[in-house]
Symmetry: C2
Subunit: 361 residues, 2 copies
Amino acid sequence: MTQILDDAHLATPAGSGHRLGSHRVLEPKGALPQAAWKLDNAPRAYDNEMLCRVETLNIDSASFKQISDACGGDPAAIGAHILATVNERGKQHNPVTGSGGMFIGQVLEIGAAHEPRDGVTTGDRIASLVSLTLTPLRLDAIESVDVTTGQVRVRGTAILFESGIYARLPDDLPVDVALAVLDVAGAPAQVRRLAKPGQTVCVIGADGKSGLLSCAQAREQVGPTGCVVGIVPHAGTPASKLLLEQDYVDTLIVADARDALAVLAATPAAMPELADLVVNCVNVAGTELASILCCKDGGVVYFFSMSTSFTAAALGAEGVGKDIMMMVGNGYAKGHAAVALQTLRDHPALKDYFAARYAAR
Amino acid sequence: MTQILDDAHLATPAGSGHRLGSHRVLEPKGALPQAAWKLDNAPRAYDNEMLCRVETLNIDSASFKQISDACGGDPAAIGAHILATVNERGKQHNPVTGSGGMFIGQVLEIGAAHEPRDGVTTGDRIASLVSLTLTPLRLDAIESVDVTTGQVRVRGTAILFESGIYARLPDDLPVDVALAVLDVAGAPAQVRRLAKPGQTVCVIGADGKSGLLSCAQAREQVGPTGCVVGIVPHAGTPASKLLLEQDYVDTLIVADARDALAVLAATPAAMPELADLVVNCVNVAGTELASILCCKDGGVVYFFSMSTSFTAAALGAEGVGKDIMMMVGNGYAKGHAAVALQTLRDHPALKDYFAARYAAR
């Protein structure tokens, strides 16, 4: 911490910055941090900011692949590449992919006017839940690069704005398992809000991280009189077996969700009146229509997948004359990190699955 | 009608087709009509279809501009181009833009198993409210092309599936005014559902067709204790004057909705507690963040604009830590055509504005 406290920037008090961080934008003036080319990464918290020591960068997979390809997969070259980007832009914002990632670190300083989320205090280890593309970041050194996970150990500091979201890392879960859950925390949190006792919930892409957590949460919410239907591309995978063995789903439909007619053909047996709530958790494009067709008139489709096309959803529902509410998957909901982590704790079999799959080897 | 009734296809009864029209798909087999390359446009209604005589095609503006550019703006060449597309594909589905439009016509035949919407009977004039990209269409002739409006007078037939939506053309409004309203019917219909007495509603892009109808409808719903705020790019336009003169809005913010910080700076005066409901009606990209920032925590953003980016909305809300519900603008809602037309009738000043602007000259 000494090198930070010695920083010349600390000579004068900083006052309060803009809650969205626009006071940290150097170029172009007037932009918001995500849209900006360059941020002020000075390691000093304004009154409404939080300063963190950064231990690990989780570079998002699209960005890491691009960097790795550009560097021939060489860890040292990848590290130098990341250092150059952060030095140039004051944030880890890949100019090619436009994406970032998140960081893990420790809270160094909480500004007097910053109201911490999640009961976080100085010294706590946290995961940032806003993108690195809008997070002021300063790196002193790259310590190591794990080319298999996209995790980069660093020495440096980051700033979280008043509007920034983050979660305290739990003591009872391996860091990598917690990260895997926090990455998709919005999905189970929204299912908890939207699913009601006795309803039919259909989760498309039920075998992925967000899908598994959504099914487990849906099961809790709909109760014994409700019904949970999962749609997965393959039977017999560990995730598909888990869904059935643990009764997270009543029925598993094995179908390619891009084939809307195939999905529709499977619905009469699995959910004769269709679903009150459809949760789309797939990671491929072209599944909007299947999602719409699984939803009953007056129901809700929650598109958590980032592969969703806005126009395909809007025009798809119109094209088949479906009067349904379609929701854009907001990555944030109040308390979403706590709900997601608790979902895992409440379901030991799911926790074991995540531990086997995501804990660092 | 004679040439139709003589058609060889009429020799045998057709039975019922798929409610989504997949029985009409010729290439590739198994696709749904919108995704298909070629449809069966035989002018004969299956039991659950409706056959219409087509009078006018309203080619969507992106498609018409592309065709017109390719044809040097020559009406005859444009007509030949459209005829060639329809002959090749069995639908007016522009292969370059991927878009279609809608048709105006007269109901010729309603299949025995087709339950007509909107009380429509044989002989009624209707507007199709599903895209031409999924509508089986056969053209006998192009009669004229209006290069200023993108309207094409034709002789031909079209099929509406069981799932297809359409509205009877009203007797009391010019066809072009009715079309202008029906084109955006989803917006006022959803505002009617979502806005509640006493709420603050913010309409971004308040000066366009959907924006004006949304403001008028919001005014009705929020009542005297509520507040309607419009955001427009320019003051002093006829639409902006109309909004203020008719009290459709309490306050007009003049700002570029792509400049999120400028919009945010105007909110304390116009809506100190932000909006319960934000309706995005703009026709430019990059306004997701402004929409999110205008919405209070726990509120709703309704993205009616087809320029909306799904990821910009999802990541934008997460980036600023806003717990809001974001809705994809569904072009269809039960009774939407009736609500939209009635909104116009209930507001004579709005009706005059639409008549002056959209009625055929």
